[in-house]
Subunit: 357 residues, 2 copies
Amino acid sequence: MEMSGYLIATRKEVAEFAGVSEATVSRVMNGVGPMKEETRSKVLRAAEKLGYVPSALARSFARNRSGNLGVVLPYIPKARLFSSYYFSEMLSGIGSAVREQGYDLLLLFRSEQEPQEYESFFLAQKVDALIILGSRDEPGEREAIRKLKEARHPFLVVNQHFKGESFPEVDVDHVEGSRQAVTHLIQQGCSHIGFLNGPLTYSNSADRLSGYQKALAEGDLHLDSSYLFEGNFSRRSGYEAAEKMRELLPEMDGLFVSNDRMAIGVLQKFREWQIPEEKYPKIVAYDDSDAAEITVPPLSSVRVPFYEMGMIAANKLLQIGNDAELFRTWFDEPVRELLQAELIVRASSRGNTHVNN
Amino acid sequence: MEMSGYLIATRKEVAEFAGVSEATVSRVMNGVGPMKEETRSKVLRAAEKLGYVPSALARSFARNRSGNLGVVLPYIPKARLFSSYYFSEMLSGIGSAVREQGYDLLLLFRSEQEPQEYESFFLAQKVDALIILGSRDEPGEREAIRKLKEARHPFLVVNQHFKGESFPEVDVDHVEGSRQAVTHLIQQGCSHIGFLNGPLTYSNSADRLSGYQKALAEGDLHLDSSYLFEGNFSRRSGYEAAEKMRELLPEMDGLFVSNDRMAIGVLQKFREWQIPEEKYPKIVAYDDSDAAEITVPPLSSVRVPFYEMGMIAANKLLQIGNDAELFRTWFDEPVRELLQAELIVRASSRGNTHVNN
DNA sequence: TTGTAGGCGTTATCAT
DNA sequence: ATGATAACGCCTACAA
């Protein structure tokens, strides 16, 4: 059904009112082609008068372009997805780029049920380009993205790398970020460093593991697999992982955690156990979200430029719409932008100088 | 330019391939009208074979419906909008409703520069319905929303009330939420209760002020305007507002703050001043975001059902697309859904029993 | 500088 | 149960 109670002024009416042809109205509205200033203002006045706004729908249809940049998000019912710092920042960055380029931002929720399938967003012409967030390295996902590439749809994977493929990606050097984090812990005198990581289907988790290993090797420490823990990035999972650290704690003098939220869960558990702060392992977390500053002790954390990532990804992607040359090479030499992370040191990884609040 | 390197299968090709008319293809794809099972499967096979997906663009054009629910967000460059708990939760709620109803979610960023103007989203047919978030009671905004109503565009204002108008709204009873918060402080023995509020152009700020006043009156306390502070909901503004509380602190034994982030800023300042926790005023904040649990001391906070608000708003709004009767009355008896907030008590407002961590 | 007219891929109505 | 066809509102190549 028609969802509105009003009538929309059409180009035809404007043309009649202004006493020109419809084509002229189009030219004026789009500012193309030469035209007499008089005609122009006549048309604009008519449009103003009639409240005419060109239909984006019809325009898209005629141009065969939706004008939308799609962003695929993991759909997890009730998961309060946006609450996660990661997605929030990224979307803000994408939003700001999209806006400047005159596109609209269409949010697309990936379903956990149905098999992954991204191409139909293009086939249905819902989007002109697609940014894929929260991607995981799983067979279905790889396949779905491969299809996008084969069909040469403009897309970009963010914060995820698929080894062996060459997809256009904007990513962060999590290997180096993690290496720095763990090296810092070693420099602080730690020799038994635990690692609470996220699921390895995220390449950023795998990358962090590499960085961790690298730092240990460089510090002549050996990797003890009983020091490896896995969570799902939620606070709760950090809280639960801490349980498993219990018996190692006297030994474990350092801890690297893959995001702030899990680290906060760990801290909660430590506090519950009434471990004195001086006895906490030295901790470095990841993301450097707002929360890192306000925990007790404040968390050292690896800052990830999510906002910039989103902005860069969107800009790159939309750029190819205006640059035929870029489009030609987009898939042959896929973009692989690699941003740097930066370790921010706070009390959680320093000496026993925690403010005892 | 054409942004893709592939060709899209059209209905015509499917029709030819299947040896039927285009109309039949449409019927099959939309599952309308009677049809022989044989024809149906023939068409479906052809579609499958050719990789045909009906063009959402063309469909929207023909149906004169975009299939999009628009969500207006305040645009603040670099403001990391989504990081705010408020918007994050709301969008998650809207997203989940929209998805179920088969709509798409279009994000629209309000500009701070240009005068407010929402109607053109409808005139340009970018959206079939509109949810307005982060609205403020300012002349331009009122005017813009009035126009929506006059033209009978389906829209909904969320978490904001315009006194004297009757716009369709989904809101929270912030008067009652605040009254509870402050009454709780009074019950805890506080008699000099400060209030750090947000800008009064947000009706929820004004409502909180009413609740504060109400509670004071009920507790036979008088309102001292030197106990009123204003911030802009950011942590920094809380941090700065705390400065102004300095000299009142010995007296001020209670503090009500309009959101968690500002409260966190206040706590930071207190900690910087090295005020012992036992001497903090008893604090109740607002929103009950994730952060409230992890501060030291954990913040008592008024829980606001943002997620539900978003979901309810979107559901209500999309419902009117399927219900002519509802649409008819939508503007005559505008929805005014009023959800309840709930006080969550934590250590920050209890006796001197803070865990000294 | 402006007008004419064909086409875009559906939906929906009317025949058959 | 299916086919033919007129809209839908705009863009754009071409004609004038």
